[in-house]
Symmetry: C2
Subunit: 728 residues, 2 copies
């Protein structure tokens, strides 16, 4: 139990020159105990000596632009695939950068194209021999000979990035002028040595800084940029921007085989995190992680030696640092900072291992897109806060913070009050929980995906996301199936496991329910990972011997051996993919007597029609959309399975998920203390402090009756959005 | 030009004992010239000598039940796959017939299981050695040894059919008692000899019959029946019920390789017609066709020798007779009869080659399901008739007819009048067209599928069909994408081509537009047929050199080489299948200046959201559903491409299709004589008779202005549903 004092603050406040009085005012009202600078702001002198922690941002790879300009050979590089070009004759000219931003990318002239590039016929998927193509540096063109008419060709080339993606985004969004910021690749020993020297000097020049806020260490996630300087590809957890000839050579020494350009461009799919990863890509990730952890650990040690703590912001150049993997602990960080706008993002911050302090950087950022006349920033903030609170009840959070221009926020007194209230509630939470964890139901829930632990609590993007236009184009608003958000606020122990985990270690004894949720072909559902009889046998055995299996959307989807759902035998159903249209559809009849039937109520949302139909007579159809199955349950051996078409996030869906997980765990006949059955109210019990929290998700007052530990019923009344603590 | 008299009739009238006066009355009013018996009815003596053609039904394989009962070894057999069973231990017992109708199927005890059956591990897809399993005839069980726990196993077995599917359906639907009818497999020479003898006797016994109406020759399409005697699988054009050890042995001699049980059960997919066929399945079809044509030709020759014409009803036991293939002409039939409920069904009847008379058997059948109190049979009939008329304007039809109980129809005087009107319109049509064909626009339209010609004008069933509950469970009501119905009434020459056609013969010079329409994985879209660079090159070249390509739903869908739509380069788009979610979606902007923009009006229906997005900057987005592309156009080389999300049938969609095909043919600047631009009015010009037909699809009056052959505008007024003829 961490000892949390009620008097000291718990918030990191952004500062701004000229706003010193505002800062001092909000420092009190928001219960701050730390100050930070932000992108575009600096620490006012008068505040830098305040009795508080002083966070100072450092993004080392962007810190020395003079060095970056002098050393193009140390700039970040990446593999890009030219857009496919169709040969109309027997020679073909491809301009590799066609379609890509000329402001951001240059063809890398430090690496020999014949050695590091690759030309492919994409119609036959064959590599074109280097003798059959030439790169002309003067025209920046590749001439391919002996092409086959009406075949498509691509050139995979190494591009040098001459404008850092984040700086580019900020400059274009805020219309910043000034030089284009470049970032350096510390994988080059000379470059690394220079950056280390630069950081040593930075430490000397920041005597008042108590916390070094790394943003972050070496490599950015993937943003590819098109001809109009528009984003054309994004992967927040992608390792595509970590490549250099030197690193590729070292990889071959380390792993005993060489990666090819195709391993990176992946036929144009670029190893998107939403795809099941190849073994080769995973090896590359390991290789990058080893380097980044080593580099980051050196920086952190320097900060410690200078008497400062170190914090990492889990965004921007964070690739290679993986909070859910063991290697992360070798960095030696003191504070993990995560940008948090919902329950899933909070759990991504709070659920990783290690003793780091967890600090949530909340949205909205104090930027003009939200803090503009006519807009109410409280709407977005409250919508986030009610989701975050649910998740906070499940895993401890240590600190909160904001970013951006205080001067903007201060124009909205209503928002200032709202944050004061958030901070007050957070202070009470710290006080009443003392950093301890609330009680969970028995039985661990495992979420099975191709990534497992490495991508714990990562939003499972789905196909519908592409076809949704969010109000703010740069802020992801998650649509469709969203089981994780439902789960983030439920009282279950959750872990994330991969297919490899099952193959190598089997299924751990303490796992009571396994969830597989996601679109077919995605890493979340598993894609080709389901092409493995060991996995199928392990899961059938798990359920057969008493486990619970929950499939949502396209669980176990992989076309093989007469099944699309490889575990369709366990679920008792199949998806129509145009291969079984001759199977006669029988009109569905909805089961009314099943244990779960009582929880099928108005307001549940199963998203898109599932195209799933029954393939067993002993399946209980609990809900359907027309003839599309939406919710089914079945017994299999000693165990149970449930299928759901989709599970978008809303509180009724979340509560249904709770009931489904209880049934799948065979826990439905047990008495559960302090467990809410009400859609809008979450209740958590902290046995180590003897406190119970009840929190109202909505603006309407709620009246609930909850069973306590000895089976007595307790009435709790909550005002709109109220968070109440009860001592027992 | 066939000479059609206006005085003689053109309809085949069903007769019924006790209804002689009704028959004689309707014979006049409906302009009949032929009488027929139906299933369940016989020809009254007094009518059999009427001065008209007398059609008599013969279904030879069901004709001699005594022989069938004496010779179980000649009954129809088929391969069925047991439903998969999961091994829970190291031995497993499978009861092959579990889940199948015991009234219909028996395990075939004439063929040695060890020779003709197959046991498979479906988890690893391996054949279990015959030494590891035993069939116990006493218990009707298969015992499998050394099974792997939690693997699934199946037994593929030969089943004997002891109840003919059609007889079973009729008996269960109409609650007929009496013995269960069996059908005989004439592939056995002894059986064939007996049936020939039986038919000779039948001919002797039917001196008044002028037309032998075969229903049909040898093998039924596929209906699999479950434990509750319910249909569990249907394939109206499937060859699954043609199997016998003798035929399999002969196949091996003929084709030089042996088929396996798996070739028939196909991992439980049973070679559904909606699936792209394997080469082996196509060989089997050829083998069956050779036999059936030979057998049928023998019967037809006997009928001819007896001075009778022969008609074939294209339903029931019609497998092996393929009206669109050359072999069909060797049968020597005089009349093709098709059951026709819409334009596609009509074109399936009228568009096949050969000099046969074409007779459409209309719906509804005079059965109690439609002809019951409170129901108006005219509604269904008129809905069919307006679709059929459009298609009749494109290809000549010779005769019409009905089936069922006249006594039932006669209870609905309104329906009697309605049919009188249909027959009058049909008589006018014969008179004014004289069997000639209306003028078409220049440029042939080819529909590309895995089947090509063999499955011309077959409804392209789609995934949504399964999830639609029709008002009458036994009558297929087609939902969703239905380009063929739109096309059936448009003035284009249409042919159906396959991928093999393209590979073997290239694309014929006279083809101006190629259509690919259907769900991914289906034979209609093409499935694995798209895994062929020759096909891709031929189609890109076709468009590149000036051709038109129309893709609907999932054109060219096959996941390979970085594309889901293999011709996505030609269309300029891609489908999201969860592999490209990182590609950033740009909000769509709708093109208003494209030639086709003028035709994008209210009332168009693009069906389900497409999940398709632009992948080219030079694509014209003409319509979208949210951000899902619904209609796009693009130039590619000298040619053009159009994509549509879906094209359900309605008249606005049909007219849009007309405009799209005109644009794709580069015909948009030409003057088209007698071409309707109006959604509800079709116009056809018959150059050989100098007549123009205008027909109103709807009950509201229509006013249209049509350009004649010399560019003058002609006004035509039509009452609701009116069909007008204009002499020019």
């Amino acid at each position: 139990m961490k000892q949390v004092s009620s008097t000291k603050g718990h918030m990191t406040l952004p500062v701004e020159v000229g706003q010193e009085e505002v800062v001092l005012d909000l420092y009190q009202r928001w219960q701050a105990d730390a100050l930070r600078d932000s992108d575009g702001t600096t620490m006012p002198e008068s505040l830098a000596k305040q009795d508080s922690d002083i966070y100072s941002v450092v993004c080392l790879v962007r810190a020395d632009q003079q060095f970056a300009n002098q050393h193009p050979e140390y700039l970040h590089r990446k593999y890009l695939m030219s857009f496919p070009v169709t040969a109309m004759a027997e020679t073909l000219v491809i301009q590799p950068l066609d379609g890509y931003s000329k402001d951001k990318y240059e063809l890398d002239d430090d690496s020999d194209p014949k050695c590091w590039w690759e030309v492919r016929n994409r119609t036959t998927n064959t590599v074109i021999d280097v003798s059959l193509w030439e790169f002309d540096a003067a025209t920046q063109q590749v001439l391919i000979k002996q092409t086959q008419p009406y075949h498509e060709y691509t050139v995979t080339f190494m591009a040098r990035q001459v404008w850092d993606s984040v700086s580019m985004y900020n400059a274009l969004t805020n219309d910043w002028k000034g030089p284009r910021i470049k970032s350096l690749d510390p994988y080059h020993p000379e470059c690394r040595a220079h950056l280390i020297k630069h950081f040593a000097q930075w430490l000397d020049e920041h005597p008042n800084t108590t916390v070094v806020r790394f943003t972050t260490f070496a490599f950015l996630f993937v943003i590819d940029t098109g001809e109009q300087n528009q984003d054309i590809y994004r992967d927040w957890t992608g390792y595509g921007e970590t490549v250099s000839p030197r690193a590729l050579e070292d990889f071959e020494k380390r792993f005993g085989y060489a990666l090819t350009p195709e391993d990176f461009v992946d036929a144009g799919y670029y190893n998107g995190t939403y795809k099941a990863p190849s073994k080769r890509y995973q090896d590359w990730m390991t290789f990058v992680q080893e380097f980044v952890v080593d580099f980051a650990a050196e920086l952190v040690a320097m900060a410690h030696k200078a008497g400062k703590k170190s914090a990492m912001f889990q965004g921007d150049h964070w690739i290679g640092t993986e909070p859910f993997l063991e290697s992360y602990q070798n960095i030696g960080l003191d504070i993990n900072i995560g940008a948090v706008d919902d329950g899933v993002a909070l759990r991504r911050l709070t659920d990783s291992m290690g003793e780091q302090t967890r600090e949530a950087r909340f949205y909205p950022y104090f930027f003009p897109d939200v803090f503009r006349e006519g807009n109410d920033p409280v709407v977005e903030s409250m919508s986030n806060w009610v989701k975050i609170r649910r998740a906070m009840l499940q895993k401890p959070l240590d600190r909160i913070g904001y970013g951006g221009y205080l001067s903007l926020a201060n124009k909205f007194p209503h928002f200032i009050d709202h944050v004061s209230e958030i901070s007050r509630e957070f202070g009470d939470y710290l006080q009443h929980t003392q950093g301890t964890e609330s009680q969970k139901l028995t039985g661990k829930i495992a979420v099975l995906s191709a990534w497992g632990k490495a991508r714990s609590w990562l939003q499972n993007q789905a196909r519908d996301q592409r076809f949704y236009v969010p109000p703010r184009p740069d802020v992801m608003e998650f649509v469709g199936n969203n089981l994780l958000e439902c789960l983030a606020g439920l009282p279950f122990e959750v872990e994330f496991i991969s297919f490899d985990d099952i193959i190598q270690n089997g299924i751990s004894e303490d796992i009571k329910v396994i969830i597989n949720t996601g679109d077919a072909n995605s890493a979340w559902s598993g894609g080709e990972c389901w092409d493995n009889s060991e996995v199928l046998v392990a899961l059938r055995k798990f359920v057969g011997q008493g486990g619970g299996l929950l499939g949502v959307c396209d669980p176990s989807a992989f076309q093989k051996n007469g099944r699309y759902f490889q575990l369709g035998d366990v679920f008792g159903l199949e998806k129509e993919t145009a291969l079984t249209m001759g199977r006669v559809a029988m009109p569905l009849s909805i089961a009314k007597e099943h244990y779960l039937s009582q929880f099928v109520t108005e307001g549940l949302d199963f998203g898109n029609p599932s195209y799933v139909y029954p393939q067993a007579t002993d399946i209980a159809v609990l809900a359907a959309q027309g003839q599309h199955l939406a919710l089914t349950a079945r017994n299999y051996g000693q165990g149970r399975s449930v299928y759901m078409g989709n599970l978008p996030f809303n509180m009724k869906n979340a509560r249904l998920l709770q009931q489904v997980l209880i049934w799948l765990s065979h826990n439905e006949t047990q008495q559960h203390a302090w467990l809410s059955d009400y859609p809008n109210v979450d209740v958590a019990y902290y046995p180590q402090t003897g406190m119970v929290a009840a929190v109202n998700y909505v603006s309407e007052p709620q009246q609930v009756t909850i069973s306590n530990a000895i089976g007595e019923f307790v009435n709790i009344s909550l005002e709109g959005y109220e968070w109440k603590w009860i001592s027992i």
